[in-house]
């Protein structure tokens, strides 16, 4: 039985994106060949959810006859099953399957729709707002409080933390070949960057989170700064988030450092230790002026003085140059995404698509984030060290450092490197995932929620779009990351910081998302990837090139074109298979007659010679 279960998991994971899309009756639905998937599931005869493979540790809570009010077709009669992990719906009224497979983690809000006396067809039921750009509506029979039990169960299991229950990640019994918790070893990553060295040292001052409770335990700081210096600097930085190294340029020794805002306040306080510390950072590679990128708009930085924050003034920091990057705060981003959802779900705005898109400002925010990161990357590659902060240094700062690192360092563009980048700059340095996403929390109107990480992934997508050969991973990886940002199935994005994860034993009690990814990497590989180690990627941050990520934001709409695979990719794979076929044929011919033309053969196959591994995978590609 265990064996069977594992198998079923593998089957589902062959199509993780698809798993939650409304498939039918559109067979050519996003990224998936649902029919074959269903077939294999059926052949496995999985219980208890009929034709969907349950996860180890997943338990069914309730089944119910229900009507799904599909916005793209009409009302569909069927059965809904709710487990401690997901909501699963399957229609019973027609042959063309309509299914929904929604992890409860994506649910933002559950509401009752209509009352017992409401008139009109299907006016009594539930409305579910999701975090992943869709809403679901169900109708029930208008008798005997038919929705009461399902509403209560849904409310409880979708928001377990509000009901004193555990997130599914702690209940899951999934097992994978790979252990994703091992992908990031801070010391190893710093060693890869060439650290520590004579300019920068590793400090364990935060090993018990005593210096800063939202920072990781291992930090890299200027060689010349003592631990005592660090403690004094911490008093002058918001939430003690002192400037520490994020990335080191091996050739020119310029660095990207990150921190929070200085506690200047209304009176314009100064702190000699902080000023000295920044100068030490600057001196490490002989940068003439340390560039401080304040991600906020100028006015916001000024306004922050009122609450004790502020920015580095000219007088106090004479060897520094301050640049404001004009990126707006989390509330603006949240509202922007809300507007975007309004124009794409359920119906794509028809008559004024472009101006509607513009009025959401979503792409303009993307443009600002990208151009900020370009400036950071440009400065560093020209040999000057930089410091990046916003207010607390965990939202916009994380976006800017990680994007500029992605531009500067090709390692982060590999499948493994990207995981390291996320673990380091986002998870390690305390992007408040729990607050921004609201995992398992019923308070849907929480002002702390904001799609900052989604915005970052969108920026990465924009880069992959502009440089289709520069990234080892594909779009699917980005979508899967976003799906599990909400799903609560893995521990990776849970909690606000490392100290919280440690005290909750996340690494022991939950599975890492990277375990899933790294157990079958072939799904996430971009076939066009061409490694170019020394190349700095500068995307064009112009609205002419920025596009709405249709395959993510509008993926629930069956009418918007979703090609299973881009035709280019498909053709490329076909050709790879054909090449291997020819190579094999030639090899056979050569074996049979051992002709002297063998030299020619090797010549023609060298530039992109197929590794044995490729041989196996591509020969299976149907041609």
């Amino acid at each position: 039985m265990t064996f069977l279960l594992c198998l079923s998991v593998a089957v589902e994971e062959a199509n993780p994106v698809m798993a939650s899309a409304p498939i039918a009756p559109y067979n050519s639905s996003p990224l998936g060949n649902s029919s074959s998937q269903n077939a294999s599931r059926e052949s496995l005869k999985m219980e208890p959810l009929a034709d969907v493979a349950v996860l180890p540790g997943e338990e069914r809570v309730i089944d119910k006859e229900i009507i799904y009010i599909c916005p793209f077709n009409s009302a569909v009669k069927g059965k809904v099953s709710i487990t401690n992990y997901r909501l699963y719906f399957k229609n019973t009224d027609s042959e063309t399957p309509v299914t929904l497979n929604v992890p409860l983690g994506v649910i933002n809000r559950v509401e009752k729709m209509g009352g017992a006396s409401s008139r009109g067809e299907n006016s009594y039921g539930l409305e579910i707002t999701c975090k992943d750009m869709r809403n679901l509506r169900f109708a029930l029979k208008q008798e005997g409080h038919s929705r009461r039990d399902i509403f209560e169960i849904l409310f409880k299991y979708a928001f377990p933390l509000s009901h004193g229950m555990q997130l599914f990640a702690f209940l899951s019994q999934e097992k994978y070949e790979e252990n994703g918790w091992n992908v990031y070893e801070p010391l190893e990553e710093y060693r890869r960057q060439g650290l520590p060295n004579s300019e920068w040292r590793v400090t364990f001052i935060n090993k018990n989170y005593e210096l800063c409770d939202t920072y990781p335990t291992i930090l890299v700081v200027p060689y010349k700064a003592t631990d005592e210096d660090l403690r004094r600097v911490a008093t002058f930085r918001s939430r003690c988030r002192i400037p520490v190294l994020s990335w080191f340029h091996k050739e020119n020794h310029a660095v990207i450092t990150r921190c929070s805002q200085p506690l200047v306040g209304m009176s314009g306080k100064r702190n000699k230790d902080d000023e000295r510390y920044l100068d030490v950072i600057r001196e490490a590679n002989g940068t003439t002026k340390l560039t401080i990128y304040d991600a906020r708009p100028n006015v916001n930085a000024v306004a922050n003085k009122a609450t004790g924050g502020g920015y580095e003034g000219d007088d106090a920091y004479q060897n520094a140059e301050l640049v404001f990057l004009d990126i707006h705060n989390i509330h603006v981003m949240r509202e922007s995404l809300k507007k975007l959802k309004d124009i794409v779900y359920p119906n794509v705005e028809e008559s004024h698509w472009l101006s509607s898109l513009e009025s959401t400002h979503w792409l303009e925010h993307i443009k600002l984030v990208l151009s900020g990161a370009i400036q950071v990357a440009d400065k560093v590659s020209s040999g000057s060290s930089v410091m990046v902060h916003c207010s607390d240094g965990w939202d916009r700062t994380a976006q800017l450092t990680s994007l500029s690192m992605l531009m500067l360092d090709s390692y982060y563009r590999t499948l493994g490197g990207f995981q390291v980048l996320l673990e380091k700059e986002w998870i390690g340095f305390g992007h408040k995932f729990a607050s921004r996403i609201g995992h398992g929390d019923k308070n849907h109107a929480d002002q702390d929620r904001s799609p900052i990480f989604l915005q970052f992934i969108d920026c990465v997508w924009q880069m992959t779009k502009q440089f289709p050969t520069a990234f080892e991973f594909n779009e699917r990886l980005l979508v899967v990351i976003l799906d599990h940002l909400y799903s609560c199935r893995f521990g990776t994005f849970l909690y606000n910081c490392e100290s919280a994860r440690e005290s909750n034993n996340v690494r022991v009690k939950t599975v890492s998302l990277w375990s899933l990814i790294n157990s079958d990497t072939s799904l996430y590989i971009n076939p066009f990837y061409t490694p170019e180690s020394s190349r700095v990627l500068y995307p064009v941050a112009s609205m002419r090139h920025l596009e709405l990520w249709v395959t993510y934001y509008i993926r629930w709409n069956p009418r918007i074109q979703h090609q299973q695979q881009s035709p280019v990719e498909q053709r490329y794979k076909e050709l790879l298979a054909l090449r291997d076929q020819y190579l094999k044929k030639l090899e056979e011919l050569q074996l049979s007659d051992s002709a002297p033309s063998s030299t020619h053969l090797t010549n023609s196959s060298t530039p992109n010679a197929a590794t044995p591994n490729q041989h196996i995978t591509h020969l299976q590609t149907p041609f």
Binding site: D326, H331, E364, L368, Y538, R544, P558
Partner: protein, 733 residues
């Protein structure tokens, strides 16, 4: 001097921002005064020239200029740099007729003069008064040239300015077009041309009818344009029509294409149908009846002049649209970036494209789903009729998605079909604005949307479409020079040199060797094209599998079964239908209409895609795109170094040539054993240089590109977040 950080707009903003002030340029007086002359085409004559002229370059955003000589000939305005230009020779995609510093006269769109920092449009009256210090030339292929005239002697300035203004802007006669002076020898490689069906002979039409199994009647009575000068030389009409001479000037339904079911697409030039003249009504009834007779007594008529934008709307919209791409400098670029999407929308151009595609889908639905004959009409019968009928044919018939098929289609519907290219493209700079309209470009735009959405279905590439759209403004080809078949023939006869017996032979645009060598022509082919597997015919079962997107959708998917019935009933219902049609024209209210086509699209989308079957475009907002290659190729700010779709294409090409090599190798080995050997020369898929290409490849080359990124300016102006959200703190605490 332009500074990048300030974000542009000042209170007293000059409409022209200079990159370099004249003082900054050191005039190298020791330059060897070697007279340089452009390489002239056979038949080309220099009118005037001036030296030294400073040409501003935008390459690498370095904002510098190059000195050289400006010439105006009967073919082009050309700039010859004093510096050695190396890149021209190494270019893989080089046009043999004109280079990157040449502007064919016909390609000039607008000329601006800069007078005291103010940019003014040059028109006739301005020419005589004052000479500008700089001229800015906007081209129809969206290039922008800027020349500084202040270094030249005054009389030279006067000469060159007047010369350029005169030859580019003044109304001229057809005879003055370079094509009639061009004495290029017809290339020996006429093979390509021959493969394209020109529809200039009865055989071509018979062949086409045979190919589509049409049961219509070929008309040869107009061979000498006795029936009408507005009708094609040869054309095909419903077989039920007789006695052509009595109908001639009232418009005839002209056959375009037949569906395998038997129903067909016709187009006609009819005056607006509201006209209630009894005589004309009778004519109309006869015509519609004749079309209905073609197959099962069913017909749908569509008056395009009522349901689609007028050619004037099209012209105005395009004029707005193209302005967004004619960018003089970086400041302007970033300023316009702010309101990019709403600017695009305000031009309405993408919406016109969507409307045309939508109309074509409606036509396709009638033909393919309902198996109904369709008659599209408009007043001229040669504008939107051509757009819609050509688009419908591309969606219905995979043959037109091959390169030769597409060229034949353009010949059939547009060239032989008497589209008034000369008037619509305004080659003669006529002041009368009513008849100018980029109708053919609109068609290419629509095709590009299809190519963009379903690339593997097309044998030609977007580069091909871009080059074709450019070629319209190259005054060498006969293809785009005339208003009708009659016009073409009469002019060609009149302009023939008397010594020779034959008529003048301008090359057609399809003779691509006139512009590009064979290596460059490889860019016309789409490496993604999935060619039809040849042995499929022998394997194919009599019944098409239901799940395939075939030419015909299985009727079970639709509620209305194909019409079948007896003669009598059908004619009755036909009469009723016709009466209704004359009032309501098409199927119903626009809303239900949109819903109907959407259903058609969705049912098509459900089926697995067959690139050799019916092809429909997605017309939702996010699916309609700007033809980036055509419109932004010359704008350096938009070029992605080593990126864009070109990066992927390059990899694909590399692999393709590898596979090709291997295949050849295998075939050579096979050849020694078996007699079967493919002698066709294999197309060479390679971009030549393996260096890092820009996303604008193969058009604009950027030289000496540094690795400096382009940092947007004026960012904050864009985001006027007015609510108080922006001033809130990130954390509530």
């Amino acid at each position: 001097m332009l500074s990048l950080g300030t974000g542009g707009a000042k209170s007293s903003k000059p409409s022209f921002v200079s990159y370099v002030t004249p003082e900054e340029i050191k005039l190298d007086k020791d330059l060897p005064k070697k007279e340089k002359h452009p390489d002239l085409l056979p038949g080309e004559v220099v009118f005037c020239s001036a030296n030294p002229i400073l040409k501003y370059t935008q390459d690498d955003l370095s904002q510098r200029g190059v000195f050289g000589t400006l010439f105006c000939t009967n073919f082009r305005v050309t700039f010859l740099s004093d510096e050695l230009t190396l890149e021209e020779t190494s270019k893989t995609f080089k046009n043999k007729l004109y280079g990157e510093n040449d502007i064919p006269l016909m390609c000039v769109d607008h000329i601006y003069g800069v007078y005291d920092e103010k940019r003014k449009l040059i028109t006739g009256s301005l020419v005589k008064n004052k000479y500008p210090s700089k001229i800015i030339i906007h081209c129809k292929d969206l290039r922008v040239f800027q020349f500084c005239l202040t270094f030249t002697k005054e009389e030279d300035t006067k000469k060159i300015f007047q010369g350029i203004a005169h030859h580019c802007l003044e109304e001229k006669s057809l005879k003055c077009i370079f094509a009639f002076s061009y004495a290029g020898t017809p290339s020996p490689e006429m093979q390509r041309k021959r493969e394209t069906i020109m529809f200039e002979s009865p055989e071509d039409w018979t062949q086409e009818m045979k190919r589509t199994k049409a049961k219509c009647r070929l008309v040869t009575e107009n061979e000498n344009f006795e029936l009408s000068q507005r009708l094609p030389k040869y054309f095909v009409i419903p077989s039920a029509l007789e006695d052509l001479f009595s109908y001639q000037e009232k418009g005839l339904p002209i056959w375009c294409w037949s569906h395998h079911s038997g129903c067909a697409l016709f187009k006609a030039s009819f005056p607006p149908m509201t006209q209630e003249e009894g005589d004309f009504q009778m004519h109309l009834d006869t015509m519609i009846n004749a079309v209905a007779h073609n197959y099962l007594y069913s017909v749908k008529t569509e008056d395009l002049s009522e349901s689609l934008p007028t050619i004037l709307d099209i012209q105005q919209s395009y004029n707005k649209f193209k302005q967004f791409f004619l960018i003089d400098n970086s400041t302007e670029f970033w300023l316009s970036d702010v309101k990019w999407f709403s600017s695009l929308e305000s031009s309405g151009w993408l919406d016109i494209i969507r409307q045309c595609l939508h109309k074509a889908v409606e036509v396709v639905e009638c033909i393919d789903k309902d198996n109904t004959n369709v008659l599209v009409t408009e007043e001229e019968g040669t504008d939107l009729c051509c757009v819609i009928s050509s688009l419908a044919q591309i969606m219905l018939d995979p043959y037109y998605r091959t390169l030769m098929g597409f060229q034949s289609l353009v010949q059939k519907e547009w060239v032989a079909g008497c589209h008034a290219f000369l008037d619509r493209c305004n080659h003669l700079h006529q002041k009368d604005k009513e008849c100018h309209s980029p109708v053919f470009l609109l068609f290419l735009e629509c095709v590009w949307q299809l190519v963009h959405q379903h690339s593997p279905a097309f044998q030609f590439s977007e580069t091909y479409l871009t080059v074709l759209s450019d070629s319209v403004h190259v005054p060498v080809f006969s293809t785009f020079l005339f208003n009708s078949a009659h016009h073409r023939e009469s002019v060609m006869k009149a302009e023939s040199p008397p010594a020779q017996s034959g008529t003048l032979s301008c090359p057609t645009v399809w003779d691509w060797s006139v512009q590009f060598d064979s290596k460059a022509q490889n860019f016309f082919f789409n490496p993604l094209y999935s060619e039809k597997v040849k042995h499929e015919k022998t394997v194919r079962k009599p019944h098409k599998p239901k799940h395939q997107r075939q030419l015909s959708l299985p009727s079970s998917a639709f509620k209305t079964p194909p019409k079948k019935g007896f003669f009598k009933e059908e004619t009755d219902s036909l009469k009723k239908m016709l009466r209704v049609k004359r009032i309501s024209r098409w199927m119903g209210s626009p809303d239900s209409l949109v819903a109907a086509t959407r259903e058609f699209y969705e049912s098509w989308q459900q089926r697995p895609l067959d690139y050799h079957g019916l092809l429909l475009p997605c017309l939702d907002g996010p699916a309609v795109h700007v033809w980036m290659q055509r419109y932004v190729r010359w704008i350096p700010e938009v070029h992605i170094q080593g990126g864009g779709s070109m990066a992927v294409m390059t990899k694909l090409m590399e692999l393709l040539s590898q596979v090709q090599d291997l295949k050849n190798l295998l075939e050579q080995r096979d050849a020694s054993q078996a007699a079967k050997f493919d002698h066709r020369p294999h197309r060479l898929f390679s971009f030549g240089s393996s260096g890092r290409l820009s996303s604008s490849f193969p058009f604009a080359y950027s030289r000496n590109r540094s690795f400096k990124p382009i940092i947007p300016t004026g960012l904050m102006q864009s985001l006027m977040v007015t609510d108080n959200l922006s001033s809130q703190e990130d954390e509530a605490s």
